[in-house]
């Protein structure tokens, strides 16, 4: 991305520290995180297993409490948003859930409207329209009357994304959207995310181990390693051999030319 064109910053952090609370003591996994995420961009969070990618994305989405520092959404402190206001700004997708097998795809996607519905969860005409749009956009119209239990992992992934779209938020966070998918569905899923950024102006952040494909679609990489969090463009990462530093090991290395990992 050329730095001359500056987009609106939608999400940013200032000296953010994340981690856990163990026996009433805060334990930082990562600290002093300063990030900015621009509107309409696709951002991949990468790093080795267990470095805190999930904790980072969960904290950014306010799924878990931060330890210290600040998180800003639209230049307003995240704390100032109520649960419901936040739900209208940020959608969350995680795939390691117990699937409600008896729920139809339409019912599942409709749950995305909950921040907007009344206490009885009645869907208005507008709600129905948004749901239909989300289903069409993710290309699952043929599945809409099926039960979630009948779908493959790849199809389910699209249903999860449709539900997030139905929530009609500016930002979507996805924790490991490419896990358990075959290469075709991985590409399809990332392609869909890219399409949503370009065509719908969504800001999307996801954690992944699918680096090679992500290098082709993402605008920005947030790299987590050795307690450091850096944010760079894919080009910069490739040219400066950052991937070999992030995934420091003696089994695979990143080949600049082919933009692929190679073993031995």
């Amino acid at each position: 991305m050329s730095k001359t064109q500056t987009n609106k910053i939608v999400l940013s952090t200032n000296k953010l520290a994340i981690g856990y609370r163990r026996k009433k003591k805060l334990q930082d996994i990562l600290k002093n995180i300063n990030l900015t995420i621009e509107e309409g961009t696709l951002t991949a969070i990468i790093g080795k297993n267990g470095v805190g990618k999930s904790t980072l994305i969960r904290t950014l989405a306010k799924q878990q409490e931060k330890n210290s520092g600040n998180l800003f959404l639209n230049h307003k402190n995240a704390k100032s948003y109520s649960a419901n206001e936040w739900a209208k700004e940020i959608a969350w997708v995680q795939t390691d859930i117990q699937i409600p097998v008896n729920l139809s795809v339409t019912e599942f996607v409709s749950l995305g409207r909950q921040p907007y519905t009344n206490w009885l969860d009645m869907l208005s005409r507008k709600d129905h329209k948004v749901i239909t749009n989300a289903i069409e956009l993710t290309d699952i119209t043929l599945l809409k009357d099926k039960k979630c239990g009948e779908l493959s992992d790849g199809q389910l992934q699209r249903v999860y994304i449709a539900r997030a779209l139905a929530q009609d938020t500016a930002i979507i966070f996805l924790d490991e959207p490419t896990t358990h998918l075959d290469i075709i569905y991985k590409a399809k899923t990332l392609g869909l995310l890219k399409q949503l950024c370009l065509e719908k102006g969504k800001t999307i952040v996801y954690t992944t181990h699918e680096i090679e494909l992500s290098l082709q679609v993402a605008n920005q990489f947030i790299c987590v390693s050795n307690g450091n969090v850096i944010s760079e463009t894919p080009q910069y990462i490739i040219e400066n051999n950052l991937l070999d530093r992030i995934f420091e090991n003696d089994v695979v290395f990143f080949d600049k030319k082919s933009k692929r990992f190679k073993a031995f």
């Binding site: 799924q63 649960a83 117990q98 409600p100 097998v101 008896n102 995305g112 009885l120 969860d121």
Partner: protein, 341 residues
């Protein structure tokens, strides 16, 4: 939506089922009463206040209404627990809520000799309800406290089992010190019975039941959110803690008050939500919640009819009947090995 007519037929069948089971329940009993007389008595026409009229209005009608409340109330309590703990095997009995309620009642009946101050309370059925609600609330809070620390939903069942063993153990200790009369009173209460309620008691039961169901209806939206797990519910703007409290309150009130008035009744809370999900093949609470109420009422009315031998004084303990019907359903559920949430 396309699927609406299918559900409408289901609900029409359930409504007819409730009416049928209700009349059948009233028609059965130690004294044989003709169908015409039942309709006359219920609709208050042709009032000749003979014995049959009194049997129907003072005994059978409150009993049938109790069955309706007990079946639907325990069904709803089970549904709330199953969604809340995301485990199709959860229910007020399995999670030890019924044991907690029993412990409350046991403290009251059996403990009155140990703690003399309780004595003035034992004469009121009303105090049973308070103690039972407290008992189930304490156990549910305990289960919940552990459940938030262990992520595996199967261990929640084990925790429930442990809590109910502790409750039973305390009941045993109390029984050991109790007098024979107290023991007998407790044992009879433990068999479960739907027929001992006066109209006044039934009014109290209905009032608490309505509060419990009302809180349940209020949670329907959150319950649907919780189907996707707590993270999703949170991301949809639900206040997890607040919903948790409402669901716990609803479940403890329903289980507590029903157990107090009718004894600990097994399997209804577990089996009814399962049946409803199978029959309507959805887990959307907007559909399944009313379905559970209807099916719970029908099943309980039928169980109570079965417990009552026709033209005979013999009445089997209702708890035994629900277990005999419910246990095979649970086994079926385990064997089918199909995820049913």
């Amino acid at each position: 939506m396309k699927s609406t007519p299918k559900y409408s037929i289901g609900f029409i069948l359930i409504s007819l089922g409730i009416i049928g089971a209700f009349l059948l329940n009233i028609a059965s009993g130690s004294v044989s009463i003709s169908f015409g007389e039942i309709i006359d008595s219920l609709s208050n026409i042709n009032i000749n206040k003979n014995n049959h009229y009194i049997i129907i209005t003072e005994y059978r009608l409150p009993k049938a209404l109790t069955a309706l409340i007990v079946g639907s109330g325990l069904g709803v309590a089970g549904l709330l627990m199953q969604t809340f703990f995301r485990n199709p095997l959860a229910g007020p009995y399995v999670l030890g809520l019924s044991s907690g309620a029993s412990l409350g009642v046991a403290l009251l009946i059996l403990g009155s000799s140990l703690f003399n101050s309780f004595h003035f309370l034992t004469s009121h059925k009303w105090s049973y309800a308070i103690f039972a609600c407290l008992g189930s609330f304490v156990v549910l809070s305990g289960v919940l406290a552990v459940a938030t620390r262990v992520k595996n939903s199967n261990s929640i069942l084990i925790v429930g089992l442990m809590f109910s063993s502790i409750a039973s153990a305390i009941v045993s200790i109390l029984s050991y010190f109790a007098s024979q009369a107290e023991l007998q009173q407790y044992v009879f209460w433990g068999f479960g019975s739907l027929g001992n309620l006066s109209w006044l008691e039934l009014q109290w039961l209905t009032a608490i039941y309505c509060i419990g169901i009302g809180l349940g209806i209020f949670s329907i939206k959150a319950l649907n959110g919780l189907l996707l797990g707590e993270s999703y519910a949170k991301s949809l703007g639900h206040k997890i803690l607040q919903n948790r409290i409402i669901i716990i309150l609803s479940t403890s009130l329903l289980t507590g008050v029903i157990t107090a008035f009718s004894g600990p009744i097994a399997f209804i809370g577990l089996a009814i939500p399962y049946l409803a999900r199978q029959l309507f093949s959805t887990s959307n609470h907007k559909i399944i919640f009313p379905a559970v109420i209807g099916i719970g009422a029908i099943v309980m009315l039928l169980c109570d009819t079965l417990a009552q031998f026709p033209n005979n004084d013999l009445i089997l303990p209702i708890n035994a009947i629900t277990a005999i019907i419910g246990a095979p359903i649970v086994i079926l559920l385990l064997l089918s090995n199909k995820k049913v949430m």
